[in-house]
């Protein structure tokens, strides 16, 4: 009986190849792409992630802080915190300069909170893309 062969797993590229683009990509949205000379895509990523984050701030979105408690509280707050921190320098500057705001009720604030977290998650996608380009899996 013929068995389907599993596709060979691609080996992980060496750390020194992808670490810098991924780290710079975290710190500056689109930075990994600048480093890899993908300027057009880098500009689109920088503009999109930064606009998303700044709009979130202007809508007075809340920054998540890690909290303990029941499982839902832990999941929401840790997940939100990781999403926020994935924005790199945008998150760090907001925290250092005191622009991080507490959670307040209201539809616009709620949208703002989602914009802030989504900006970080989009930056994670950009970091993964930079990793794949650096590793030679994508052009």
């Amino acid at each position: 009986m013929a068995t389907k062969e599993k596709p060979a797993k691609e080996p992980m590229p060496p750390l020194n190849v992808w670490l810098a683009p991924v780290a710079v990509g975290w710190l500056i949205p689109g930075g990994g792409h600048y480093l890899l000379k993908r300027t057009g895509r880098a500009v689109l990523l920088t503009v999109s992630v930064t606009c998303m984050f700044v709009l979130g701030l202007l809508m007075r979105g809340a920054m998540f802080k890690p909290q303990s408690g029941d499982i839902l509280t832990i999941l929401i707050n840790w997940g939100g915190f990781l999403g926020d921190i994935a924005s790199g320098i945008l998150y760090l500057l907001t925290s250092w300069l005191g622009y991080a705001q507490a959670d307040v009720p209201g539809a616009v604030h709620d949208y703002g909170t989602k914009f802030l977290v989504t900006a970080g998650l989009l930056n994670v996608l950009a970091m993964v893309d930079a990793y794949e380009i650096a590793g030679g899996r994508k052009s």
Partner: protein, 61 residues
């Protein structure tokens, strides 16, 4: 810091726009495919926005 008050539609529109751009950029392999995919994702977001909006409108009676 100034406060921005966007309507549901404006906020959803901007969310769809920026998310589509990033998804288009990171997903495909050629610029043409990226553009097409970005537009496709934006279209899906927009269809969901309008569709769910009407659904909620009729749901409320």
């Amino acid at each position: 810091m100034p406060k921005m008050n966007l309507s549901h539609f404006e906020a959803s529109f901007l969310f769809a726009l920026f998310t589509s751009v990033v998804l288009g950029v990171v997903t495909k392999r050629t610029d043409r495919e990226r553009l097409r995919y970005g537009l496709y994702v934006f279209g899906c977001f927009f269809a969901a926005l309008v569709g769910i909006g009407w659904l909620m409108y009729f749901g409320h009676g």
